[in-house]
């Protein structure tokens, strides 16, 4: 704590000593074509090189000496824009950036802004340009944000059937996924094959995998901050696509010109409609089906230069139904999905102080209703959040950017509701306690230049979490039998936790295009995700901290070297990290979801710790006809639980020793572009039977220690080609016969992609069965590997106008 205190003192001192005779220049940076504000654009003074970066709302503020200045706005993919001003008082300068036709032609899929690689204090932060994702190969042509970030070093996937991602050894629950500031609890559709984020509606994605700044909290591994488009305020436009399994349509336009705009984006799969004719109406699975849909909508209203309102919402549902017609075969229906609504108000108090107020509602629901003959079994879980956030950005002097704020969320968790009936008898299962909790945090951070070479981002977050009534606690004896109950009244405190979360990251410039960065953070997380299965299903249950479940605590230390090469055409980095994770949870060995009735919500859990360390190498070419990157990660992630494998340490499910990704793009001309990705990772750790024995004449498997076996490695090559229609057309004037070239209003493109180009059978899971018969005396156990996708070509037609 002492170094931090020293840092704050230093900070306060430097604040008060800031010169008085300066003025500020502030304003927004927008795209001239559609009025969307641009996030992460840089505005700097040409002479002094003092600059600022636009925040999530496209707002920037600079402090300069009085006199003449030339301001330069730069943003990748856009032409630099210069503005000469005479500074005699604080003023507003709004930039309207135009796409640079030369730069825009270049293939730029994922880009850290210009000099951020070596200039910013942030480590392990990547901004992703959504517009360019479409040129990368995608499974069945569905552009997928979550899949794309998994090509970055330090970010791992679990292969197909799993869009949960794992950052530096942390679990999928440790990623803070924000959609316009609202938390999204389950970011996947179709059991993880697709993410819930419809790329057409998304403006910007920022991933922070290390050195999380103090304005983010509540999760311990990473932040994926997704900003939806605001909607074009210049004119009515649309875009969409028709793919093999789903179609999309997005419409946007002004409500009041230059004041207010909207965007609506919808997507639905039609696997169910397609599959129906092929399912025999009297066959084994007649009536089974699966579909998902989602809807994004957003509107904004600019009251004045000082006030702007946003209202955005997301709604998505997955529905999976299985109807068996075999005797005794089960029927079930599983709907799940997220809904989020956030209302935001930006207010500029003065050029140096910006406030964003957000009101948030988020709802995640999962339910399962199944039955077999007269026996009906239901299971449901979910989370509902009501939140309010106040976030201030302050630009007191050229050297400082301050962020401070308050967050509050009221959570209502339904950890797992069980409902059983057999015939006319309803089983005596208490309506389980919904769990209610207050979560609050206050934070303060300052990003400041100590010297021209040394920049520090220091912050502190204080968080508080209280589990409150109404709550029914089961009092258990040593063998887990209920001996009584204790009732907590509404609002009565059951258990409270709080903690300090210091965050520190530093950059020291070692040359004009190189720097060393270091970061330390302590993060607390008051919610845990408990999973019964190894593949991340929607049955995973969010469990809040409470009497027995302590908050997760994670410490992360990271150091990195960052360098731009060859006129910043290439950027490279090496980062090493070490992470300690405390109060991790798992279900106890052999626990099943149905065991959760009539007992405390945490009765099936066991607790332990984890740690992870690794090195990440990244080389990226960002300019030229050929662009792309290569990433390599070496890492190790272990866990140790007193109640798992008799307390021996074991590899975590998301432990991967080696992880390689290659992403290459080539822009042949203004019509054809090509993309390719390759991934390789060490096989997943799994638990297999090693011995067997007989009880009551049946074969019983005896399993190895947890995760002591490795599946085969995962590797895959994908290819894509995109053909756009001609950007211009020739129009012949009927009277003069003169031929002129005009830009087309309607643009369309075909994307052809091949998934798993060399048809690798990657393991999805292993299972064990027997072959032969006892009659022939040749019965033997065999191991089988199930793979999901063989080589899979697809085509998608996209359009916009």
């Amino acid at each position: 704590m002492r170094p931090l205190l020293a840092l704050f003192t230093l900070l306060l001192f430097s604040l008060s000593s800031a010169a008085q005779s300066t003025f500020s220049v502030s304003g927004y940076v927008k795209d001239a074509a559609n009025g969307e504000t641009l996030i992460g654009a840089v505005v700097y003074d040409k002479e002094t090189k003092q600059g600022a970066t636009t925040n999530t709302f496209g707002y920037y503020a600079l402090t300069l000496q009085p006199g003449p200045h030339t301001l330069v706005m730069t943003y990748i993919g856009y032409a630099n824009e210069e503005r000469t001003i005479e500074l005699t008082a604080s003023m507003t300068v709004t930039f309207e950036a135009r796409t640079n036709t030369i730069v825009a032609k270049e293939f730029e899929v994922v880009g850290e802004r210009n000099e951020q690689n070596t200039e910013g204090t942030q480590m392990g932060t990547v901004d992703i340009d959504v517009q360019k994702l479409g040129t990368l190969p995608a499974l069945l042509g569905e552009v997928d944000i979550l899949k794309t970030i998994q090509y970055l070093p330090g970010v791992k996937s679990n292969g197909e059937g799993n869009s949960g991602f794992y950052v530096r050894g942390g679990g999928p629950d440790q990623n803070l996924i924000l959609l316009d500031n609202a938390t999204v609890y389950n970011a996947s559709h179709l059991f993880g094959f697709f993410s819930v984020f419809n790329a057409d509606a998304v403006k910007n994605i920022e991933l922070i995998k290390g050195g999380m700044p103090a304005n983010y909290g509540g999760r311990t591994s990473s932040v994926l901050d997704i900003t939806m488009k605001d909607g074009n305020d210049k004119g009515f436009h649309g875009q969409g696509g028709i793919g093999l399994i789903s179609s999309r349509l997005t419409l946007e336009g002004p409500i009041i010109n230059d004041k207010s705009s909207f965007i609506v984006s919808a997507r639905r799969t039609y696997i169910d409609v397609l599959a129906k004719p092929f399912l025999n109406p009297e066959g084994a699975f007649a009536g089974s089906g699966y579909y998902f849909y989602d809807l994004n909508a957003k509107a904004n209203y600019r009251l004045s230069d000082k006030d702007r309102f946003f209202l955005s919402g997301y709604f998505g549902r997955d529905v999976f139904e299985l109807k068996g017609s075999e005797p005794g075969s089960p029927d079930f229906r599983i709907p799940w999905g997220n809904a989020t609504v956030s209302g935001r108000w930006n207010h500029v108090f003065g050029p140096k102080l910006f406030l964003n107020t957000t009101a948030i509602f988020s709802d995640y629901k999962f339910s399962f209703k199944g039955g077999q003959d007269d026996f009906v079994f239901g299971l449901s879980s979910g989370i509902k959040d009501y939140g309010l956030k106040l976030d201030f950005n302050q630009y007191p002097s050229a050297r400082h950017t301050l962020k401070y704020g308050l967050n509050y969320t009221y959570h209502i968790y339904t950890p797992s509701t069980v409902d059983v009936a057999s015939g006319d008898t309803d089983f005596d299962i208490d309506t389980p306690s919904k769990l209610r909790a207050h979560e609050a945090a206050a934070y303060f951070l300052d990003e400041f230049d100590v010297t021209d070479l040394f920049r520090v981002n220091a912050g502190m977050r204080v968080s508080y979490f209280a589990h409150v009534g109404s709550f029914n606690e089961y009092l258990l004896d040593s063998s887990g039998n209920t001996v009584g109950q204790r009732e907590y009244k509404p609002g009565e405190l059951v258990k409270a936790y709080y903690g300090f979360e210091p965050r520190l990251s530093m950059r020291y410039k070692t040359g004009p295009a190189s720097s060393i960065k270091a970061s330390f953070n302590r993060n607390l997380q008051y919610v845990h995700l408990a999973s019964f299965s190894s593949i991340g299903l929607p049955t995973d249950v969010w469990i809040p901290s409470g009497k027995n479940v302590k908050p997760q605590i994670v410490y992360q230390y990271a150091v990195g070297y960052f360098r731009d090469l060859w006129d910043r055409k290439y950027e490279a980095s090496v980062e090493v990290y070490y992470k300690d994770m405390f109060n991790q949870i798992e279900y106890r060995e052999g626990a099943q979801p149905q065991d959760g009735g009539n007992t405390n919500y945490d009765a099936l859990l066991v607790f332990g710790k984890g740690w992870s360390y690794g090195a990440e190498f990244f080389l990226k070419r960002r300019l030229g006809k050929f662009t792309g990157w290569a990433g390599y990660t070496w890492s190790k992630t272990m866990r140790k639980f007193p109640d798992v494998s008799e307390g021996r340490e074991f590899p975590s499910r998301w432990d991967r020793r080696h992880d390689i990704s290659l992403v290459v793009g080539y822009e042949l001309n203004d019509r054809w572009s090509f993309g390719s990705t390759f991934v390789y990772s060490t096989g997943q750790a799994t638990t297999l039977p090693v011995q067997r024995y007989f009880i009551e004449g049946r074969v019983v498997s005896q399993f190895s220690d947890r995760n002591s076996f490795r599946m085969a490695a995962y590797h895959r090559l994908d290819l894509a080609a995109t053909l756009k229609n001609k950007p211009t057309k020739e129009v012949k004037d009927k009277t003069t016969g003169e031929v002129t070239t005009v830009e087309r209003k309607y643009r369309s493109s075909w994307t052809f992609s091949v998934y798993n180009a060399y048809n690798r059978a990657n393991p999805y899971f292993y299972y064990f069965t027997t072959e032969g018969t006892t009659a022939n005396n040749d019965l033997r156990p065999v191991a089988k590997q199930v793979s999901l996708f063989s080589i899979l070509p697809s085509v998608t037609w996209n359009f916009h106008f």
Binding site: F193, L244, I245, I271, L274, A275, F278, P327, G328, D373, D374, T425, F427, D428, I429, F532, S533, I535, Y587, E589, G590, N598, T687, L688, P689, V690, Q691, R692, Y693, F694, I695, E696, G697, R698, V699, V700, S701, Q702, F703, S708, F765, Y766, Y767, F768, T773, T774, N777, L779, R780, P781, V782, A783, K784, Q785, V786, S787, L788, S790, L792, S794
Partner: protein
Amino acid sequence: MKRASLLLTLPTVALLVGCEKEITVELPDVPTQFVVEGVVQPGLPPYVILTRTQSYFDPIDQNALSNSYVRGALVTVDNGSGPVALDQLCSSSLTPEQRALFAEITGVDPALLGSADICIYSTANTALYGEVGRTYRLNIEVEGEVLTSVTTIPNPVSLDSVWFQLALQRPDDDSLGYAWGTLTDPDTMGNCYRWMARRISTDEDGNAEDPTFISPLGNTFQDRFVNGLTFDFSFIRGRQFYSDQPEDSNEEAGFFKVGDTIAVKFLSINFAEHEFYTSYDENISTQGDLFGTPVNADSNIDGGLGIWAGWGVYADTIICQ
């Protein structure tokens, strides 16, 4: 249009099917362990079947099965009046009648007893026969290792009634159905139960249709959700391990049938046995299951695997009509 629909179907099919292949798995060397299957029930001699674990991929033939039985162990049971050694009984030295009785008590397949020399541990000492409410300590010394356990025979809980009811899978079906029971659970928390049934009506050869009792999936349950209630429940027939009976693979699979006579054993068991039988059931039923988590059977044997169980037995018979 036709081509388009074909194109659209391809990924759908891929989504639903996937592909699978056999693989070779190099398993780590793990020392073998001793496995106990021991039961003590009212009015019957206690028995212990002692086997050892085998490597997972060893063939499951009769050789493997008979080789897994362990001979020469010192097995004692103490019912409170001091330890008494059980005798080693080997099937080759038994008369066919004794063998039949042996199969009846232990549930070991009579065919196997006839074809292989299988040894188990039991006693003719009636002082050691099971009594409700009594505690039984098991001690096994074998090849330098000691295995111990303890159990009690709980009070048996009777079923109010048992009956057969048509399943009506098809509206016109008038022969296939399930076995049903009505249970009134005592008003104390913590009762655990296990169901097993056997068709004792005879086939053409004059043998009982099921050579042993069968515990179908989900056979073990406790009263956490049903404490003090009276309710009906049903069970399917289940099947013998690797059965090659025609009625286990045709439309009769899983059903009892009009004309069957079913012997029912409804066991009252302790919590430790409940934990074992549920995890054992889970272990067996999730073999080859994608969504199942690896579950080891939760043994109550110190120094080994398996179960030493006290069964409170309620027996009844259903005539399917």
